[in-house]
């Protein structure tokens, strides 16, 4: 019956509970698998052991220095990639001629793995943070660019005509028409790029030896310290989850008008 149906319980509180529940299931699995002997616990230690190690790590100054270095490298690279990807994406996406001209080159460069670039970057910068930065920017830039290109192509023709008929300048059109349309795509691009950037930052630290969490993971790995390896990996995962939370909050603010958000507000 339409009117007397129970009201949906407060949406976001329930979402948070469900999300934590989801994580608990994974933690439970990670605890059970080694304990039940399904996997060898010297290769995949039980979750409790990982967390115990993590707690130990939290007390170490070196851990916080590493975390800071990783976050700094990640944020810088991501910011550069976002800025470049958005600007180039909007410019290339809105100018048909540029789109045709660059398409093939973009498709050629995109699949070149950042890992294949590692030796080149090492040649230029050794294990300085710049090495990681270049890899991070290179990898996450494409994520943004492609998302922005698709977003720009999604402008409703009637909206575009409206802007044209009122003779909006190019800049105004970009600001008031193209950008809002592309925004949902950009948000997805941001979420994709944020994790790719994190992955590359860690990988660069791991392989090239740039200071940061990845380097500690590398040391732990080559010493056979499985628990510490996983404890650090958990930290990386937590960064990922946090980034997503931030992205979602941002989305709720900036995309209030979008179907995806307003549908849920009802």
């Amino acid at each position: 019956m339409a009117g007397t149906r129970p009201k949906r319980v407060a949406g976001r509180g329930r979402d948070a509970v469900l999300g934590v529940l989801g994580l608990l299931v994974v933690v439970g699995l990670a605890e059970a698998l080694p304990r039940l002997g399904i996997v060898n616990d010297s290769y995949l230690p039980p979750a409790s052991a990982m967390f115990a190690e993590l707690v130990d790590q939290l007390g170490e100054a070196a851990f916080w220095t590493d975390l800071g270095a990783t976050l700094r490298g990640w944020a810088t690279g991501l910011a550069i990639a976002m800025a470049a990807g958005i600007v180039l994406g909007v410019v290339i996406g809105s100018v048909g001629f540029l789109r045709d001209l660059t398409a093939s080159t973009i498709e050629f460069l995109r699949p070149i793995p950042s890992v294949a670039l590692i030796p080149l970057v090492v040649l230029l910068y050794g294990s300085r943070p710049t090495s990681a930065l270049i890899l991070v920017v290179y990898a996450s830039f494409w994520q943004i660019l492609v998302q922005v290109l698709y977003g720009v192509a999604d402008v409703d023709p009637v909206v575009r005509d409206t802007a044209r008929s009122y003779r909006f300048s190019r800049l105004t059109t970009v600001r008031t028409v193209v950008w809002p349309t592309a925004l949902p795509y950009v948000m997805t691009g941001f979420r994709l790029a944020a994790s790719v950037a994190l992955i590359l930052e860690i990988t660069a630290e791991l392989i090239v030896g740039v200071p940061g969490l990845g380097k500690s993971i590398g040391v732990a790995q080559s010493s056979g310290a499985v628990e510490k390896t996983y404890a650090l990996v958990i930290v990386v995962g937590i960064i990922g989850v946090t980034v997503n939370l931030v992205a979602r909050a941002l989305e709720r603010r900036t995309l209030r008008w979008h179907v995806s958000i307003r549908k849920e507000a009802r």
Partner: protein
């Protein structure tokens, strides 16, 4: 790349960067830094960790690092490809006892592989294909009367080799410390040291610099060599101090540390051993052209 010039530290010491790998083998340089051997020579050393020689050699060749640590085969490979590198001092050597070396070939407990020649036709995990580990493992099998060309090598990182053997994905795996001890403690069998098989006291790795740096900063190279040699000898004579320094740059478990097989450290570059390894590598067809061992060594 640049790197011709050398930075002067605040106290007049020359700042140098050395690329190393977080393993037992480089304990002497950590020890030497701690003991002040490098400072005595007017060197201010910073140590950069990387995952392997593949990342260190280009960085040294291009001047990003002044010195680096790499295994002998990689250096020979680089030399045959005209990568401008030059060895300055010994790095680490194998022991002379095949049963107590830093390297070994592990098989599962109760495996029907009981001696190296049984590896024929089997799947063996190594850390890098077509490098020192495959060459020496081949020699181990060859000496035991097996045909190494029938081995199927698979590349896996050291930490993964143990689990892969246990799971049965590979029949055996060539590992170095601490994974050798971790493996034997988990009940696996060591078929013997591939390094020792190639040559007792094999020259496994060296410290090196770029040819241009060797020319332009001969003084620094000399100072580094002197300090390094002192460190190597000191480490060889003070195994207890080595065990104390290890936890400062690795995460090796105490339980493992206690039983770790130590390598040999010597200040002598064993040119013969290097030549022997070069010959073995050529047998395996690793090189595009003959390596010039004399040109590589100081």
């Amino acid at each position: 790349g640049g790197g011709e010039s050398t930075d002067e530290g605040a106290d007049g010491a020359t700042e140098i960067t050395v690329g190393v790998i977080p393993i037992v083998d480089v304990a002497p340089i950590y020890l030497g830094v701690e003991k002040g051997f490098f400072k005595e020579e007017g060197l201010d050393v910073s140590l950069e960790l990387a995952q392997g020689g593949a990342a260190i050699i280009p960085a040294v060749a291009s001047g990003q690092y002044q010195f680096g640590f790499s295994n002998t085969t990689s250096l020979l490979l680089a030399q045959t490809q005209d990568v401008p590198v030059k060895v300055v001092t010994a790095g680490v050597n194998a022991t002379e006892d095949p049963a107590a070396d830093m390297a070994g070939v592990l098989v599962k407990a109760g495996s029907d592989i009981t001696s190296p020649k049984d590896l024929e036709g089997k799947k063996v995990a190594v850390n890098t294909l077509k490098n020192i580990n495959t060459t020496t493992t081949n020699e181990l099998v060859r000496q035991d009367g097996g045909d190494p060309t029938k081995i199927e090598y698979v590349e896996l990182a050291f930490p993964e080799i143990g689990p892969a053997i246990e799971k049965g994905d590979v029949d055996a795996g060539q590992v170095v410390e601490p994974f050798l001890t971790i493996g034997t403690q988990a009940g696996m069998t060591d078929l013997g040291s591939n390094f020792v098989a190639a040559d007792p006291g094999l020259a496994v790795a060296e410290y090196f610099t770029s040819t241009s740096y060797a020319e332009s900063d001969a003084d620094t190279v000399e100072a580094f060599t002197a300090a390094m040699n002192e460190s190597l000898d000191y480490a060889q004579q003070h195994p207890d101090e080595v065990k104390e320094i290890l936890p400062t740059y690795t995460d090796i478990d105490e339980k493992v540390l206690a039983e770790l097989n130590m390598p040999q450290w010597t200040s002598e570059i064993d040119a013969e051993s290097i030549q022997k390894l070069a010959d073995l590598s050529e047998t395996d067809g690793l090189f595009a052209k003959d390596p010039d061992v004399d040109a590589l060594l100081p």
